[in-house]
């Protein structure tokens, strides 16, 4: 067994080659398991999500058991410890059903948009936090900030341990999403944003530009100057809101900001990892604007063999179906993994199609079998 430093060097080269569409000796493997790994470690969701020491053990055991080259999630999802400290909930954990329910309780209305243009501080303070818990005490506020710093410390610590003990790379340090995603996921939700695109398009465009200028542009410009040697890529962007948009809406409200984010990063030579929920295939014309060998696209539901034909200039990750990993035999899973690595070859990163969430998303023996196979398959 190689030491962690040698493994890191080997894996870094595998990922760099895959992103650059260069020939690799084998296909690198990235874990897209999220809450699945908590259940696989024998913990309940509330035991691990509420305890950073337990979560550290979960993440390290996941790596120890399956020997990934890199990980998309390092245990930082669903931080209900912070939200509970501040006196509100964004999601509910159900240990019996092993599920997480995201609450549709976002507080922003379309009428709040002009407030953001006037002052982003006022918008977040008064319209968002002030409505999530209007009765918040000073103690709760300070406890929330304290939990935030603990969360950041946990993220740094667990990524450092993955690197030092196992030579495994986190996929990225931070996500930086297009402004439309911020409104979609964190402020207006599916229904609100769907209505805004139709009823308040001018106001929506104005706040998207304002969010981009005020928050996204400074953050991405600073991020572009960073050193990301220990990561697979410099940052994550996520396609989620595109799932409720047609191509005309996507062209107007989404793509210009997204493209600018990528251009700022690419100009500095930084690579990007992008996960796409639902289907991205219908927006593949837009992806022609992405330069060759700079981005990983990890689609959730697309046929990646077909996607490869449309975007041969972009490294693709994923493709191993949960429907195989969770329900079929080791032999059937390995056969499908063989098809993936042999047909996708260079410019491909082996991973799960969806974010591994439920126990039924994978059988441990299947995960081990496909990882062992891909690790030994020479291109």
């Amino acid at each position: 067994m190689k030491d962690a430093k040698a493994l890191f060097q080997e894996r870094k080269e595998l990922f760099d080659n895959a992103i650059a569409l260069k020939h690799n000796k084998r296909v690198p493997i990235v874990s897209n398991y999220w809450t699945w790994k908590i259940l696989d470690a024998g913990c309940t969701l509330s035991e691990a999500i509420c305890d950073w020491d337990v979560m550290t053990r979960v993440v390290l055991e996941h790596q120890e058991k399956y020997c990934f080259d890199g990980l998309v999630d390092c245990g930082g999802r669903n931080n209900n410890k912070l939200t509970r400290a501040m006196g509100y909930e964004r999601h509910l954990l159900n240990d019996e059903a092993e599920s997480i329910t995201v609450l549709d309780n976002l507080p922003i209305t379309a009428e709040d948009y002009p407030i953001y243009r006037k002052s982003s501080q006022e918008f977040w303070w008064k319209c968002w936090l002030g409505r999530m818990n209007p009765d918040m005490t000073k103690e709760q506020f300070l406890e929330g900030v304290s939990e935030f710093f603990k969360f950041l410390e946990f993220g740094d610590r667990v990524k450092a341990e993955l690197l030092e003990k196992y030579g495994a790379l986190a996929a990225f340090p931070m996500p930086y999403m297009a402004p439309m995603e911020l409104l979609f996921n964190q402020a207006r939700g599916i229904k609100g944003l769907s209505l805004d695109m139709r009823r308040h398009p001018e106001e929506l465009m104005d706040i998207l530009d304002a969010i981009f200028e005020t928050e996204v542009l400074p953050a991405v410009t600073a991020a572009a100057e960073g050193d990301y040697t220990n990561y697979i890529t410099a940052m994550e962007t996520i396609f989620l809101a595109h799932s409720i948009m047609n191509t005309k809406q996507f062209a107007r409200f989404y793509w210009p900001h997204f493209l600018k984010i990528t251009q700022i990063m690419f100009e500095k030579g930084q690579k990007i990892y992008t996960f796409s929920e639902a289907y991205i295939d219908r927006f593949s014309d837009f992806l022609q604007d992405i330069p060759e060998g700079m981005m990983i696209l990890h689609p959730e539901q697309d046929d990646i063999f077909e996607l490869r034909k449309k975007i041969p200039h972009i490294c693709i990750a994923g493709g191993m179906p949960a429907s195989y990993l969770g329900y079929k035999s080791e032999e059937e899973c390995v056969d499908y993994a063989r098809k993936l690595v042999s047909e996708m070859g260079d410019g491909y990163i082996f991973s799960q199609d969806k974010m591994g969430t439920f126990r039924a998303d994978a059988r441990p023996e299947n995960v081990k079998a496909v990882n062992d196979f891909v690790r030994s398959y020479e291109l």
Binding site: E122, W125, T137
Partner: protein, 54 residues
């Protein structure tokens, strides 16, 4: 002291802007990472924008 009485005596966050915002920023002086008032005020908006995803 009963819990409800204790709750009544606790300082509530003032969600007005800019008065309540600046007051909350001043409370953050207990965190060594946030050394001056300007940094604390900049931090709050970034903090909220970030935690909205949690």
């Amino acid at each position: 002291m009963a819990n409800n009485e204790k709750k009544e005596m606790e300082t509530r966050v003032n969600f007005t802007y800019p008065e309540g915002y600046k007051e909350a920023a001043s409370w953050l002086e207990i965190f060594p990472q946030l050394s001056d008032q300007e940094a604390r005020e900049a931090f709050i908006a970034n903090f909220i924008s970030t935690i909205t995803i949690f």
